[in-house]
């Protein structure tokens, strides 16, 4: 599975997305959570760090996918023609899609856990405040919006369109975070809905990719 992903992920992409980007995300969280604004409570720092990180991840993942599978659903993209010549083409394509989904999920969970760990280790008072459900909400909402945005951006080969999709997803993320932060909202219910959304969007995006590949055998 790793080999098939490697085929699509060119060296610069691998360097940026598998090494530099996770390190920058964690470093960014650490910087935001440092006592730069000592007048504010530490939990506020954690929330700011999580919010910035989630919004950045959504944009970067969507724009990053443009360089990995960008425009792969576009009707005249011809990006799958080479794969269709081989008996193994479909399975290789599916493996690469699944691998990318796994990478994204692992990355989002890891960075959020690292962010929480920084908050807890840094001062300790976060441990009492931080509920696991908050962390899960951050993780799930990021993953769901990434999945949805990526499926949309794969229809277009135009990077400007894909950047716009990234910003739209970012706006949606902010909106959801604002709504979910309300005291009357039960995060348990939200998380159940988001978990369902994550499962559907993850499986759905791979299924949809394979469906689009089948469709690409037909001109009309």
């Amino acid at each position: 599975m790793g080999k098939s992903y490697k085929i699509f992920a060119f060296p610069e992409y691998r360097l940026l997305f598998l090494i530099a980007y996770p390190l920058c995300a964690i470093a960014g969280c650490a910087i935001v959570q440092m006592d730069l604004f000592s007048v504010l409570h530490r939990t506020f720092h954690f929330m700011v760090a999580s919010g910035i990180m989630a919004s950045m991840i959504v944009i970067i993942e969507i724009i990053g996918d443009h360089f990995l599978f960008g425009g792969v659903y576009a009707r005249f993209g011809n990006k799958m023609e080479f794969l269709k010549l081989s008996e193994k083409g479909k399975s290789l394509y599916k493996s690469a899609m699944i691998m990318d989904q796994i990478r994204r999920t692992v990355f989002v969970i890891s960075v959020n856990l690292a962010n929480a760990a920084i908050g807890i280790i840094g001062k300790g008072d976060l441990a009492g405040w931080l509920e696991i459900s908050v962390l899960i909400t951050y993780i799930l909402i990021t993953l769901v919006l990434c999945n949805v945005g990526i499926v949309i951006c794969r229809f277009s080969q135009n990077p400007v369109v894909n950047i716009a999709v990234g910003y739209l997803a970012n706006f949606m993320l902010m909106l959801f975070m604002y709504v979910f932060s309300g005291p009357e909202v039960s995060l348990v219910v939200v998380n159940v809905v988001l978990a369902a959304g994550f499962v559907v969007s993850s499986i759905g995006s791979v299924w949809f990719s394979m469906k689009k590949m089948e469709e690409s055998y037909h001109d009309e």
Partner: protein, 296 residues
């Protein structure tokens, strides 16, 4: 000369797309030979090649491969077919190394060492370019050729393989195809579309001429050269012979056109000479006869 063994056999192939209809009642490609597919832009050459290579499945009729036994999805068939298409065939951000890695994963018969040897022989700048996008159109074509020649194939389907190549590389391409076929001991075949008939005549054994989605003429080149004769004569004789001429044209300096060999006797009494036509002249005349293109 009759086709003894076929590498691809198509029956009742029909595909409609945006007002265009590809309609091929029967198609047999001889095994162990190079077959050229010739026709105007929009004649349906690429469509036919795409259907044959399994890139499009929305058509009626059927193709069978390798002695009419197997379909495109049968095990091992795609492994034996090498296809090269338009220049934007590989992912543009792929490096040449990634192209090799992708081929290694996709095709069991791909020999990476052989690929680099061929790439080196064809002067593809493997180490000097960042990615496929940076290669010139000619080098992209050479790269595609290197990938298919580095595999164990029995049929090459090549969509306009020489259109982006320089004259020297075209000559080299012809040599490669000749060697590919001769190394196969009658088992390896090549099917290519081309507009460069004159350049490719040297390697063409069998020709298929298409127009508006239909096959107009087909046959072994030697047979076609016996079937037709090229007639040249004075302007004054044109009107008398024009109704027998295929794709005839006349200027004040004289006329020329193809004539069926069986109509040779019609030249008697006219000041005209008959010559053996080249494949290029046969194709142009047949296409001219059927083309909607008008002189202005």
């Amino acid at each position: 000369m009759e086709i003894e063994n076929t590498v691809v056999c198509g029956e009742k192939i029909k595909k409609a797309y945006k007002g265009f209809l590809l309609d091929v009642e029967s198609l047999r490609l001889p095994k162990g030979f190079a077959t050229a597919l010739i026709g105007e832009n929009g004649a349906g050459k690429t469509t036919l090649l795409n259907l044959m290579a399994g890139l499009r499945l929305d058509y009626k009729g059927s193709f069978t491969y390798f002695d009419e036994k197997l379909g495109i999805d049968d095990k091992g068939v795609k492994e034996k077919i090498g296809y090269t298409g338009p220049a934007h065939f590989f992912m543009p951000h792929w490096s040449v190394r990634q192209v090799a890695e992708a081929n290694e994963l996709l095709f069991e018969g791909f020999d990476k060492k052989k690929f680099y040897e061929i790439a080196d022989a064809l002067c593809i700048p493997v180490g000097n370019v960042k990615n496929v996008k940076s290669l010139s159109e000619g080098n992209k074509t050479k790269l595609m050729l290197a990938t298919v020649l580095a595999r164990e194939t029995k049929l090459l389907i090549l969509d306009e393989p020489v259109s982006t190549l320089d004259p020297l590389m075209r000559d080299r391409f012809c040599e490669l195809m000749r060697r590919y076929i001769s190394d196969g001991d009658g088992e390896k075949s090549v099917f290519f579309s081309t507009h460069d008939i004159a350049d490719m005549e040297g390697i063409t054994d069998y020709a298929i001429i298409m127009e508006k989605g239909k096959i107009l003429e087909r046959g072994f080149v030697e047979d076609l050269k016996e079937k037709y004769i090229l007639v040249k004569g004075e302007e004054s004789d044109y009107s008398a012979l024009s109704k027998w001429l295929i794709g005839g044209s006349c200027t004040k300096y004289g006329f020329s056109g193809l004539l069926l060999s069986e109509d040779l006797e019609r030249l008697s009494g006219h000041n005209a000479v008959a010559e053996t036509p080249s494949l290029h002249q046969i194709c142009i005349s047949v296409m001219k006869q059927n083309s909607p293109l008008k002189m202005i």
